[in-house]
Symmetry: C2
Subunit: 215 residues, 2 copies
């Protein structure tokens, strides 16, 4: 059965997955970049950016795993861009340039309708107004037997966690303190019950945790 | 200069340092024991309990560090026992039996006066009603040039973190989910500003983080 998977989702020591005040200048919120430096250093990320080199150790194995066997992605609209409310006149097409690193259909959860946006390299952004279950159904259809990756942000993951729809979740624990921002383990009505740690291993900069839904 | 140090303070993935509903049966709250299994497995803990054997690897190095150079301990009264409000008639002398593992003066923060309790092996429990600064001063005096260890619980550590009085803090990140309980990084008025990770290293069961106050 195809699965819904979360990968490379970084948390600070104090539990934040993004800094406060996301904006065009700070897509990950203030201080949020520090959560992802380990990922930027990997060969997988370098390759995605068309750059040579990069770290090939444990962190890279996890970074690469995030693309393996994935046929579609779901994300919240706050991950897609900084615009809130109606889309307005601006022709926003995501943070990722003309050739986004997905190369498959991406389903963006929103309350505001938007035409699909066809990008270079096989990425098309579809906008889903009728909820997380509908988005998941469309993503599984589009993935055609492959798994679906759930991006962020925090609120989107929380929604899927509350319904128990996530099969596997890889968290990257980064030893920094953000002090404020958006917490992954919040608004979960008693917590992400029914998940168990199935892998726990660390590099010098990150502790990797894989959680799987109990059978 | 003698320092105020926190050691072996375990946190779950979702940020909890203790489970909910602390009681005589569950001194660490429901599920809280799971946070400390790594510590129980160490040689240091075995020795403390008068038992042979125990793990001697990385986790043990951290467990042992918690006693090194310590001359006094401070703890909140919820760590001392399950009694809330006035002490009442019961002759509670702590969770640790007749010969507690401290072997030095222990200062218990409380709103309710209590005579000192002299235990075997060099441990005396003193009860401090006039706040965290007074307790720290008395503990430094008693430690006589050695460092002071700050035990728990969560609320006690938060009080000292808010005032920036902690010099060093060792956290043990344990890959379990508690879902509810007491969070360390909470009620901190914007977070534990001014601390930086100075060591990050993992065993198969715990990621150890040492935070030090910025100079």
């Amino acid at each position: 059965m195809p699965e819904l998977r979360v990968h490379n989702f970084a948390l600070s020591l104090d539990g934040y997955a993004a800094g406060a005040n996301q904006s065009l200048e700070n897509p990950l919120g203030v201080g949020g970049l520090g959560l992802h430096e380990w990922a930027f250093a990997t060969r997988t990320f370098h390759k995605m950016e068309g750059a040579p080199g990069g770290d090939e150790s444990l962190d890279d194995r996890f970074a690469a795993q995030g693309d393996a066997g994935i046929g579609a992605t779901i994300m919240g609209r706050n991950m897609f861009g900084p615009i809130r409310g109606p889309w307005g006149e601006e022709n926003w097409t995501g943070w990722w340039g003309d050739d986004p690193p997905f190369h498959h259909p991406v389903f963006v959860l929103t309350h505001h309708l938007h035409e699909p946006i066809i990008m270079q390299g096989g990425t098309t952004f579809y906008f889903v107004k009728d909820g997380i279950n509908a988005a998941l159904e469309r993503a599984f259809d589009a993935a055609d037997g492959k798994d679906v990756r759930l991006g962020g942000g925090v609120a989107t993951i929380q929604q899927y966690l509350r319904t128990g729809l996530i099969d596997e979740m890889h968290l990257a624990l980064v030893p920094i303190l953000l002090g404020t921002g958006e917490r992954l383990f919040d608004h979960l009505d008693g917590g992400p019950a029914g998940y168990t740690c199935v892998e726990f291993v660390s590099s010098p900069s990150v502790a990797h945790v894989r959680l799987a839904r109990d059978a």
